[in-house]
Subunit: 161 residues, 2 copies
């Protein structure tokens, strides 16, 4: 039985074990592949974000953050990032995190959710977000250099809450 | 005769006199309207950006920055922000800054330039960027709360270099 709860400093090692391999793979997030543990945790658990973990009886199955995507007149749109532990792939963890983030976004008063940079060849993610109600509202030609596929498009996806 | 040169700490007061009114107006940039001088300068002259000024015989006519829009596999696309001093409006300063930034972007090896958030009702800016070769590659529905127009779309604009 999993619960989703706020990440605490005590989760840092376990969060790094999830986000480190994803960052090093360099296939889905526009982050430097050699980003170190401290910098990666500062990014993922930045105080401007609310960071959550999926806690499976003490083992972390995934982690996500929610933050305002822009400031000022753009503060009513949130942005989230989700990463699943490799040991939990294919078990609906991303979907579970999204459902939590959707509720959290509404509770925080956001009016929409935006993903700025979904790598187009990450087809599983694109299909998942579309199935959950996101629309592709933008396409950035060749904006991502994929480690094996070369220059590919990135998508801007958006959902009104 | 104006020259465009790198901003230095000695320019901070003059840069703030340009960016402060634009930020307080809250019509074009998704920044908090009450952002203070120090925070605004940290944002605009952040070491991750190269910041330039248009120097008109010692008076600043405008300022812009260039930075990578994303990290990792997204580092080859740059992002710029431009602000013109109110005393120099309508004198082609934005166009002059763009030309400089275009050359700078190519010199730095960027392959494209992206504007993440052009407020749709800022029609002069949209037309200017289109006339210079940018395409609207995304539209974010109601993503900007304009101080007088209410919720309006923001545009993602993109140009391959």
């Amino acid at each position: 039985m999993t619960v989703i709860r706020r990440a605490t400093p005590a989760d840092e090692n376990a969060v790094w074990e999830i986000i480190g391999p994803t960052i090093r793979a360099g296939e889905t997030y526009p982050l430097d592949r050699d980003l170190g543990k401290d910098a990666a945790l500062r990014y993922w658990m930045d105080p401007e974000k609310e960071t959550f973990v999926v806690d499976d009886a003490g083992e972390l199955a995934g982690t996500y953050y929610i933050r305002p995507n822009q400031l000022g007149g753009g503060r009513h749109v949130c942005n989230c990032g989700y990463m699943t532990s490799s040991g939990y792939a294919g078990r609906g963890i991303a979907r579970q995190m999204f459902a939590h983030s959707f509720d959290r976004a509404r509770a925080l008063g956001y009016r929409a959710m935006q993903f700025n940079f979904v790598v187009s060849v990450n087809e599983r993610a694109v299909r998942l977000w579309q199935s959950l109600g996101f629309e592709i509202v933008g396409r950035l030609p060749g904006a991502f250099l994929h480690p094996t596929a070369g220059f590919v498009d990135a998508l801007v996806m958006y959902m009104t809450l």
